[in-house]
Amino acid sequence: MSDNTLNNLPDGFKGMSHDMSSDQTAFKGVQWGKVMMWIFLLSDTFIFSCFLISYMKGRASTVVDWPNTSQVFSLHVGDVPVPLLLIAIMTFVLITSSGTMALAVKFGYEKNRKMCAWLILATAIGGLTFVGMQAFEWSKLIHEGVRPWENPFGAKQFGSFFFMITGFHGTHVSIGVIFLFIFARKTFRGDFDTGKRGYFTTMKSNYVAIEILGLYWHFVDLVWVFIFAFFYLW
């Protein structure tokens, strides 16, 4: 058990006790920004958990019927109503963008600037498509008379929780899209190769930043997995 190099550290729980009892860093070889994003995401997980727990409490204790989501969210193809069609496409788009992001991180670490930048751009466009489809879904429901304060299909809380939770998730996606576009530009410009300083933070750019952004983006996808299961399928 050599304690003076970051290579050949023990693995598993032994490694955990080694890392935790060592000096300087508790997470060996992890850049601080990455840990910061992880802890932020942990905090954000608690936010979404609280939203979903409230939703569970609201839905499980209502004495008015909860609308049948597979009907409410169906789209008509021709004359045939296809349940959850739009949601399925949105899920598809978001997972696609998650995949491109994962590849962007990989190419970033390989210093493949062009490939990385194009993949980030593809991710951003995927995110934008998702937000667009969400806007479409919202307007469709609003046309059908669903509002945060009322719902013609049953329990009032359906509309409230729907707009609040998808709205909060959509906000996360939108923020992610903005950052993705910024990062795509930075990558194309080569900031991460030259170590150009950030405009606000005055810190040197580094390809780790792309992995950090990737963590955020995958988290957004992760939350969607839960929303998809609990809100649309349940």
Binding site: D11, S98, G99, K106, V225
Partner: protein
């Protein structure tokens, strides 16, 4: 910090296949969970299938796309243990919801 990147890089170069595999699996699992609704399974079967697919997808995204599988245990444990608080919160709120609906039915419909 570059050492990490080098390690990461070494890992990543070998792993484009893995990323594509996971990507494919996510599509397949999403398709399966969509099928749960399509075939209109009900009851316990529906719930367990939804949960299984959900946790599989979440696990794949966290483990591979977010690289948690390759992180050291120190980070993994710090991130996963707080979830016990959420688990406790969920369990208790489920019990609370049962009680709320019980009292509501009792007082609104049966008459207390």
């Amino acid at each position: 910090m570059d050492e990490t990147q080098n390690k990461e890089q070494a890992n990543s170069t070998h792993k484009i296949g893995i990323y594509l595999w996971i990507w494919g699996l996510l599509f397949v699992l999403s398709f399966f969970s969509y099928m749960v609704d399509w075939f209109a399974f009900q009851g316990l079967l529906r719930w367990s299938l939804i949960l299984v697919f959900m946790f599989l997808k979440a696990g794949l995204i966290m483990a591979f796309f977010m690289h948690l599988f390759w992180e050291r245990y120190a980070l993994v444990n710090v991130l996963l243990w707080p979830m016990t608080a959420i688990a406790c919160f969920i369990a208790l709120m489920a019990a609370e919801a049962q009680y709320t609906v019980f009292t509501r039915l009792l007082y609104f419909f049966i008459g207390g």
